[in-house]
Symmetry: C2
Subunit: 443 residues, 2 copies
């Protein structure tokens, strides 16, 4: 006897196609592990008659009626792989209302409407799993929720957007400008036609909100997370970083301050200089990684493919297997502490209160006394300098660069100093600021 679990896929793009392919390719292993097989019984797509698909499927499974697909009696699990927050939200809530368990890879939806979704799931008594929403195929959600269940996370540093990491890696390798690398990445399929959400840090902020919820038992307003895109990095910054043994990586950072259960939460998304000796510095190309500092375990790192057809599908199908086990154990949808929920509201630490080290690049006129004026203003704002370099004489139309690495300073002090410096007559362009994350001990 082989039991069967009925599945509806919403969306048949890259991830949906990957789920179909993986269910076929690994059918025997999945059946052996679950003691059951999955049967895809409905696939909701925008255009039923589209000629070309990522995978071949029985066209009789296709429907454009999402509501009908999620309500069918022979469906146990709905995989929401549409993306976005409009139709996906409607479809997920409809599936939950119809008593279906849900698997999703939708970070935007969970980051912006997680409380609504998990609340509805709890009332309906269904499971919502979302391993694929953060770091694609790397099982960081399970690691944090179950592997570190007895631990207390103190801080997170993650590379969670593959497109940004690919572009910065290529910029570091070739020293070509951001716009050129982006164009190549789009041609190669490593970046979307509209890459805004990736390169602006918006996608990473969604993932960070999910991680914060899981690690610090609180909700966080995505719109309030200080977020900078990777387009602030220029090839010359990579030159200086390299000279001082740093690498520039697109990071998400979160840290609990004060009381472990109630203190404020620091969360930010930006490219950062990190020591070249740190394991995260070796996470190249489109790969993702999460570096966790926790009370009992200390530092740990989880690395792998953060996107892609099969890696993402792997997480989705592993979630389906877990729901299948829950169904057979008759515990699917049971309220469990594994479900993320805001235990209590916690304050968000304002960016101005951040204490960290800074890389500052000033473009100035090549005339005597400039360096002294910059240093005087920084000093007046309590910013002490670890390293400074003024590079030669101006060539052509380029300003002369004064580049500074500070000791730990308060962000509000740094901002005040930069505002003052930017008004000087000797300054040719606004100062460039990139934070340094070197406070974590390297591997």
């Amino acid at each position: 006897m082989t039991r069967t679990i009925g599945v509806a896929l919403l969306g048949l793009g890259n991830v949906g196609g990957g789920v179909v392919k993986l269910l076929e390719d690994n059918a025997a292993a999945i059946a052996a592990r679950l003691g059951a097989r999955f049967e895809v019984r409905a696939i909701a797509v925008r255009e039923v008659d589209k000629a070309k698909r990522v995978v071949d499927v029985d066209r009789r499974l296709l429907t454009s009626d999402v509501d009908a697909a999620v309500r069918r009696d022979d469906i146990d699990i709905v995989c929401e792989l549409i993306g976005g927050t409009t139709l996906a939200r409607h479809a997920m809530l409809a599936a939950i209302a119809a008593g279906k368990h849900v698997v999703t890879a939708n970070k935007a939806l969970l980051a912006e409407h997680g409380a609504e979704v998990f609340g509805a799931a709890e009332r309906a008594g269904v499971d919502v799993y979302y391993e694929a929403a953060v770091c694609g195929g790397v099982p960081v959600i399970r690691v944090l929720r179950e592997g570190l269940a007895s631990d207390r996370v103190e801080s997170l540093h993650g590379i969670v957007n593959g497109t940004s990491n690919y572009i910065l890696t290529e910029m570091a390798r070739t020293r070509r400008p951001f716009a050129d690398i982006l164009r190549d990445a789009q041609a190669l399929g490593y970046a979307e036609a509209d890459p805004t959400l990736d390169i602006s840090g918006g996608d990473a902020a969604h993932k960070l909100a999910i991680l914060v919820n899981l690690c610090f038992s609180t909700t966080i307003d995505v719109a309030a997370i200080p977020t900078e895109g990777i387009d602030i990095v220029e090839p010359i910054d990579l030159d200086y970083a390299d000279k001082w043994d740093y690498v520039i990586k697109p990071l998400v950072i979160a840290r609990a301050h004060g009381d472990p259960a109630t203190g404020p939460i620091e969360a930010r998304v930006h490219p950062a200089l990190i020591p070249a000796s740190w394991l995260l510095a070796d996470v190249g190309g489109a790969k993702n990684a999460l570096y966790v500092q926790s009370y009992a375990l200390g530092p740990s790192l989880y690395y792998g493919a953060g996107a892609g057809m099969l890696p993402t599908a792997m997480s989705v199908v592993s979630d389906m297997i877990e729901i299948g086990r829950n169904i057979f154990a008759r515990v699917a949808g049971a309220p469990r502490p594994t479900r993320p929920r805001p235990v209590q509201p916690r304050a968000a630490m304002a960016l101005g209160e951040l204490r960290t080290r800074y890389y500052l690049r000033f473009g100035v006129h090549d005339q005597p006394g400039v360096l002294g004026r910059l240093m005087t203003i920084l000093g007046a704002h309590h910013i002490s300098i670890a390293q400074v370099v003024q590079d030669g004489r101006a060539t052509g139309d380029e300003p002369v660069w004064v580049v500074v690495v500070t000791h730990e300073a308060l962000e509000s002090d740094v901002r005040a100093a930069l505002s003052e410096i930017d008004t000087l007559d000797v300054v040719r362009q606004p100062a460039r600021l990139i934070r340094i994350s070197g406070e974590v001990s390297p591997a």
Copy 2:
């Protein structure tokens, strides 16, 4: 109302003490996540009257009667933290027979008696969890069993013995000989008074057997795993490795060959040269890491503390939390496919059939024609050379070193060639062989 789960600890050494400490330190977070609290109700120790303990405990909890401790009606979970395979095996089987769920960190016991233990647990309807048995606090068991449940592991490369990794890391840093570093490591507490099991690869082989069982659904005879200790590495090997951009790491390696479900399994434990650009090359000190190559996810890596009081205790208590959830969901002990079991016997690939690259170091007399004779013999055995260096003239009593890096070759061919070479009159000492693991694409 706070529900309570009764716990018996067998052993109050480093790990047992860590469990007591973690249950206290993280009591609030654990209670919030589980909806219950753990109460340690018995601690079995060898000497009840021992004056000095790792942690302070209520002495009324102590007993030297293991059997009585595991049979108490108020105990739900037994944590076996004794180590070894005699008393620990007896105690674990007694606990299982008494209907208690078991958490263990005992890799030797599971590697050598896993079938017996899991068989008994299945018949008795109890859970056996063992996250701490491999890579200490890094949740690799959960990752492989649940995170990659839908995937198919193709190969594993792991650094799973912290002592060996610490010694090789220090040898690489200082170029001091093995014996000196070992003595320092013992003084610092990084190596046991009797370090044999660690440096011989025996401990790593136990962990590899557990990983093979989990990933390839088969049992493997630990005694049959080809195992070499790190004491074959000399400082001069680190010099050559460094020159050619390799690092020497204490690896466990496993790979499935042929049919994914039934083909033979390659498993081996030895120090290996690996490319310095590979993430595993940056896993230094006493840290552990597992690098997994799987069909859907591709390469992934899991890194952190493989030993130590709190990291190991963290895994033990996370397992206790999972059993607690199972108890409350009334699924504890239910037969589930998550339990490792030999799906079928699979052949072990003989080491002679291995195809890999080799680092070979020959100590020869400094006379004309030696290099030609070595190359001729290697060539006659179908071994082709990627790099060769003969280093200057002999100094003092040292032989002249001829060091060779081969292309992929068959181990039986290499062994035959070395046997022939070792009999030459110009050879002053037996050839040194270290395998190279560079076939995995670097990060």
